[in-house]
């Protein structure tokens, strides 16, 4: 039995939980959000990814109600959110600083929101205990926020923001303050909790690995605009622009001009004296159009001898080796001066490594390895 694929964005019948319609937000003369339209579906784990200052936090603060759009409208479950103040919204937010109330115990922090809606006392107690169990913080209920560790504080902040059963949970760089190891564990924990509670999560982050790990869809933002929205694998494998390709992971960008030479097949002229590169691209390009070929380093194979029967092969000299333990990245300088990065898994011990600095090597990749981009 196969479980149905969760892809409401491909279903024309599905109605998004959150809709941004031509939303623009200006602070004085600075445009933080520029005519943005997007839908986020129920039960999605949606990541807003971008460098600082790209408007992702503003977008989130508009959902929480701390900012109002200058133009356009935001709908939550079909309701226009403009006149609704933050305390009347079915959204809750987990703050980057966690914003735990220092004068209240962990228990009271989690109960804070429930007490505001005049819930009967036994119900509050039951809900707080449930949240403490969910985040595995039962033992710390009576402590104050400064008596627990950063990772525990992060979990309390999550419990507090989930306690009120929000339709939408906003997470502002929730793992930014944690070290890498703890962050990775917490990412899986977050996904687990999201699945268990079935709440729609919107996460803001500048960490592309984090976005790729947790999200069902990722929106890459730049200068107040969404450049691409897609699933993590499509964002990585089929970026729609050099910006996205460059922002997510490592990439080699080769500039050139295309000549069609078959169905979906193109040859790219790039440097003088080098044979043209063969590329298969589902996107159509016209003859003589300038283009950028984006190739991920792990899709470039490095060989000591010239491989036979490959679509693309170039020769170069190893300039630098970045040894990361599990993998190594080789920076290979071609005779034309272009540096191409190739990655390979270190399946053998380092003392037996085949290549070293200044070695002449051959780089090869298939016609489908790269993505041809117009801009």
């Amino acid at each position: 039995m196969t479980s149905p694929v969760f892809e409401p964005w491909n279903d024309p019948e599905a109605k998004p939980l959150i809709e941004f319609q031509n939303v623009t937000k200006r602070f004085g003369s600075f445009t933080a959000i520029d005519d943005l339209t997007i839908g986020i579906y129920e039960k999605e784990f949606f990541a807003l990814l971008g460098p600082s200052g790209c408007g992702k936090t503003t977008l989130m603060r508009m959902l929480a109600g701390f900012e109002t759009p200058t133009e356009g409208a935001i709908f939550l479950a079909g309701q226009d959110m403009a006149p609704v103040p933050p305390n009347k919204r079915a959204t809750n937010m987990m703050f980057q600083s966690y914003a735990l109330f220092p004068h209240l115990s962990i228990w009271d922090n989690i109960a804070f929101g429930l007490k505001r809606e005049s819930m009967p006392k036994p119900d509050i107690e039951a809900r707080v205990d449930e949240m403490l169990r969910l985040t595995r913080m039962e033992k710390f209920a009576r402590r104050k926020p400064h008596q627990i560790s950063g990772g525990q504080r992060q979990r309390v902040a999550l419990a507090r923001s989930l306690a009120k059963h929000p339709k939408l949970l906003l997470l502002d760089e929730p793992l930014g303050a944690l070290d890498k190891k703890l962050r990775q564990d917490t990412q899986f924990e977050l996904m687990d909790i999201q699945e268990k509670t079935g709440t729609t999560f919107v996460i803001v982050t500048h960490d592309q690995e984090e976005a790729m790990t947790v999200a069902s869809r990722v929106a890459v933002m730049d200068n107040g605009k969404i450049i691409q929205v897609s699933t993590p694998d499509r964002i990585y494998e089929n970026p729609n622009s050099v910006y996205v390709a460059d922002f997510i992971g490592e990439v080699n960008i080769i500039d050139g001009t295309v000549t069609p030479n078959g169905p979906d097949s193109y040859s790219v002229a790039w440097k003088d004296g080098q044979p043209p590169l063969n590329v298969i691209s589902p996107t159509a390009f016209s003859d003589g159009q300038s283009c950028h070929l984006a190739i991920r380093p792990e899709k470039v194979t490095i060989n000591a001898e010239k491989p036979a029967d490959v679509d693309n092969v170039v020769q170069g000299k190893i300039l630098d080796i970045a040894y990361l333990g599990n993998i190594s990245t080789y920076h290979v300088e071609l005779p034309s001066g272009v540096v191409i990065k190739a990655q390979s898994a270190n399946t053998r011990r380092i003392s037996r490594r085949a290549f070293t600095w200044e070695d002449t090597v051959w780089l090869s990749w298939t016609a489908t390895a790269g993505v041809l981009l117009a801009n």
Binding site: K88, R116, A177
Partner: protein
């Protein structure tokens, strides 16, 4: 520990001597058994006992305490409100002017403040007494409160208030349940500062008090003009004690808050 150089020792001694020798002499002679203020005649607490019998002084002390409690309480409420608006209100028309005007009384000569208040009270036909002194003291001490509270608010993490709103608080609830408990130490030390300022004020009180109500500093001042009595030494010693306790409590409250904040920050960094 390193030894202090002789230069530092001398400057420290000189400095402290200038500050505290006069007060020390006053305190010592308040325990003098003799009637002459400047001749030591053995230890005794007799002047403290006599002070307790002196109706005029006790009345003045009672007025002083009433005025100090009332004016510092009103000043704390007003000063905290002003600080909150200045720090949180964002940019509004005349904000710079408003903040400048809040702090101006800090540097205003007391004589001018006193005189202008006197003119105001006469102008509106308010009889001078306890009420007018309370109003006057509120006026000059609320700016001290707002300085103390606004410096605390500036380091206050804004997202705490946003979290309260996000969790369903109205703006007023967020202030009462989150902001106020967290800034409470600063508010308390503001209150204590206002209290001590009111307690030892002579100039403004002398402009705004009437025959019906005299504060202790005025009483002492006028008594001294008829000659210093050991009774006044005793009274002054008590006042020094009260003021010292007030100032120490205020700074301890602030210090404890700072230590707690630092500890929180350190544990946040560690984890």
């Amino acid at each position: 520990m390193t030894r202090m150089s002789w230069f530092n020792t001398v400057s420290l001694t000189l400095g402290f001597a200038f500050l505290y020798v006069p007060m020390l002499i006053l305190v010592i002679f308040s325990f003098n058994d003799g009637k002459l203020v400047t001749v030591w005649a053995g230890f005794s607490t007799r002047w403290y006992g006599e002070l307790m019998q002196n109706e005029a002084f006790l009345d003045a002390a009672w007025v002083t305490i009433k005025v100090a409690v009332a004016s510092s309480t009103i000043a704390t409420v007003l000063g905290t409100m002003a600080a909150y608006v200045l720090v949180r209100g964002g940019r509004f028309m005349g904000r710079t002017l408003f903040s400048g005007m809040i702090y101006a009384p800090l540097v205003m000569p007391e004589v001018i403040t006193g005189l202008s208040l006197l003119l105001l009270f006469i102008g509106i036909g308010l009889d001078r007494g306890v009420l007018t002194i309370i109003l006057a003291h509120t006026t000059f001490s609320m700016c001290y409160v707002s300085v103390v509270v606004s410096s605390r608010l500036m380091t206050f993490d804004r997202s705490l208030e946003e979290a309260a709103l996000d969790l369903g608080c109205s703006a007023a609830q967020a202030f009462r349940l989150v902001t106020l408990p967290i800034i409470a130490p600063a508010v308390i030390s503001g209150w204590l500062l206002a209290f001590t300022l009111s307690l030892d004020d002579l100039v403004i009180a002398s402009f705004t008090s009437g025959p019906a109500a005299t504060t202790l500093p005025i009483k002492i001042y006028s008594a001294v003009r008829l000659g210093v009595s050991p009774e006044i030494n005793a009274l002054s010693t008590i006042m020094i004690a009260i003021v010292t306790i007030g100032v120490i409590t205020a700074s301890l409250a602030n210090k404890r808050q700072m230590v707690r904040q630092q500890r929180d920050e350190q544990s946040a960094v560690r984890s």
